[in-house]
């Protein structure tokens, strides 16, 4: 310990001397003696997906999170049935399958994920892909682990804006927190959101940094997502807590801080954002007037909004959309440095006008947030010739897989 720390320690000790230690209240035992709330156990099963071309098995993961305790071992029959109902309902809601089916998998450990009050949720689970399993093969031909979730995911984009001298810009520089709601027309996948944010900010230039996709997590169960991004010389630490609240809204809390900033509390703000909409928060950086912009888009899986009829591709009456404009995802540097590879599985609705909408990340490699972000950003720019039903363009669900591999 160096001299200033020693001095500080002594001063603090002398101050502590003068403070009386608070006595415990008389009902302390009754406060602490409260038993943990009962948790409902859910189990899991075999999911078939027509689009992945095989079967997905939600298998044991030995993964543990507070409030959602996962337990190894076979679940009770009633739990399996409850889980099956949840999964069927989930699939029905998202129409990933025309007829969702759930089967028992004798050899697989079951995932037992407790769901508190907020059913239906499956929590996170490891997915094992058995590519030939649906054809009745016992042995998995291909075996791969992914993390999948029925929870909403959040697409976070990080941008650095150079402000021009107009009023919007200078007003922004003067304050720590600005919330920029984007209009309906700027929904995910509908327009170039970087340009939309540039206009909303009144920025002269805007540089898009690698973004990411994270799954829902709440502060109380320690589910804040922490990540860092390079801002020139500085590393900025970001933390996001996001969870769905009622009515198709999400509560999002963002904090950012970095050692190179004059006041460590750069940004700490809580927002509400609707499913599929985007909000952005901007905070000035202190080196040369640039502004850090973080936008959050819930890639919602809630059922509150009516998006009109969306068809499943069945190969007969509905013809699949035809991809006409494709951009390769940028391999995020962080992911490359850490040799992260794997598949990101997403589902989108391809609209009649050929744009993607309602993206849901349904599977990503463990710690694959940056890969998922890169995939989501690329897919948002893809364009299709729409699917057709009886010769007329229709909205369809489409599952997309982006495979990140390093040579």
């Amino acid at each position: 310990m160096n001299a200033p720390d020693k001095l500080a320690g002594r001063l603090i000790d002398s101050l502590v001397e003068g403070v009386s230690v608070p006595p415990p209240p008389s009902d302390l035992v009754s406060r602490s003696g409260r038993r943990p709330a009962k948790r409902r156990l859910l189990a899991v099963a075999l999911l078939a997906t027509g689009t992945v071309g095989g079967a997905l098995v939600l298998e044991s993961m030995g993964w543990r999170a507070p409030e959602r305790v996962a337990t190894r071992g076979a679940p009770a029959q009633a739990d399996r049935e409850a889980a099956s109902r949840v999964i069927v309902e989930h699939l029905r809601v998202h129409r990933r399958l025309v007829e969702p089916r759930v089967a028992e998998v004798p050899r697989a450990d079951a995932v037992v994920v407790s769901a508190g009050d907020g059913l239906p949720v499956m929590g996170q689970a490891r997915l094992e892909i058995f590519s030939e399993a649906w054809a009745g093969e016992e042995e998995p031909v291909k075996h791969e682990s992914l993390y999948a979730s029925a929870l909403p995911s959040y697409h976070i984009r990080i941008l650095r804006a150079r402000m021009n001298s107009d009023p919007a810009g200078s007003a922004l520089i003067g304050s720590h927190e600005f919330v920029i709601p984007l209009a309906e027309r700027e929904r995910w996948g509908r327009a170039d959101q970087t340009a939309a944010l540039r206009d909303a900010l009144g920025a002269a230039e805007i540089e898009s940094l690698p973004g990411l996709v994270v799954l829902s997590g709440s502060e109380k169960d320690g589910g804040a997502h922490r990540f860092e991004t390079a801002m020139g010389e500085d590393i900025v630490d970001l933390a996001l807590v996001a969870d769905p609240i009622e009515g198709g809204w999400h509560r999002v809390r963002l904090t950012a801080a970095g050692p190179g900033l004059p006041d460590g509390d750069l940004l700490d703000t809580e927002l509400r954002v609707a499913d599929g909409a985007t909000v952005a928060v901007a905070a000035p950086l202190y080196d040369g007037g640039d502004t850090l912009v973080i936008s959050v888009t819930p890639l919602g899986v809630t059922q509150h909004q009516d998006f009109g009829e969306v068809f499943a591709i069945d190969g007969t009456s509905v013809t699949p959309p035809n991809l006409v404009e494709k951009y390769s995802p940028v391999y995020p540097r962080k992911a490359r440095d850490e040799r992260m590879t794997g598949k990101v599985i997403m589902e989108v609705v391809v609209r009649k006008d050929g744009t993607p909408d309602r993206l849901v990340v349904i599977g990503m490699p463990e710690r694959g947030e940056w890969l998922a972000g890169a995939a989501a950003e690329a897919v948002s720019k893809w364009r299709w010739e729409p699917a057709k039903r009886d010769g007329e363009p229709v909205d369809v669900y489409l599952t997309l897989i982006v495979d990140f591999q390093l040579k």
Binding site: V16, V21, K220, P259
Partner: protein, 197 residues
């Protein structure tokens, strides 16, 4: 020394992890005295941390009491397999201290703006002992150049003895950032000490 040895295991020092875990488990089961012993053993280290974080000594008791009450009311949420009890308490305390500091700062700024004056330090109660006043001033002079999060990093590592990994977890930053804050903190405190002589 002898009397210390005679104290029941319940009053084990807070830094002996095993005993603390045992106490926590006993408190969870509702063993008489265990919760109180935990409360008593954790109060003083928390007061120390609160002051290091920038809570005024006269407010430290309140903040620590609030944090302990909050912790005990949420006892069923505490997962001893993830972190020691004292670390969990520190996490709660840090949240409370920063809320309080932030609220106070906003309030003072708003008042100052309304009054059309620059913000000044709050007046010191006249009955406060001279020594404490001096110690507070000396401490504040030493850490005056630390922005809030850097101060928190410094307080939790250098004063409360948490590891960089633990501090990174509490403050939501990477370990690299914690180390970087520490370097900056050491530098500015050394300068502050030179200036004050």
């Amino acid at each position: 020394l002898e009397s210390a040895a005679l104290l029941p295991a319940l009053f084990a020092p807070e830094d002996s992890g095993l005993d603390q875990a045992g106490l926590v488990e006993q408190a969870r089961r509702g063993a008489p005295g265990a919760a109180e012993a935990l409360w008593r053993s954790q109060s003083r280290p928390l007061i120390r941390t609160a002051i290091a974080l920038g809570v005024r000594p006269e407010d430290a008791e309140d903040v620590v009491q609030e944090s302990l009450l909050h912790a005990f009311s949420q006892f069923d949420r505490f997962d001893s397999t993830r972190s020691p009890f004292s670390l969990w308490l520190h996490r709660i305390l840090v949240g409370r201290c920063s809320n309080r500091r932030r609220a106070a700062r906003r309030f003072m700024t708003a008042v100052a703006r309304l009054a059309g004056v620059e913000r000044r330090d709050p007046p010191i109660a006249p009955d406060q002992a001279m020594e404490r006043r001096e110690a507070t001033r000396a401490l504040e002079a030493l850490v005056k150049d630390l922005p809030p999060r850097r101060r928190a990093v410094w307080a939790l590592t250098q004063i409360s003895g948490l590891s960089t990994a633990e501090v990174a977890g509490i403050l939501g930053m990477t370990e690299a950032t914690v180390r970087s804050h520490l370097r900056h903190a050491a530098e500015s405190m050394r300068r502050a000490m030179e200036v004050s002589g």
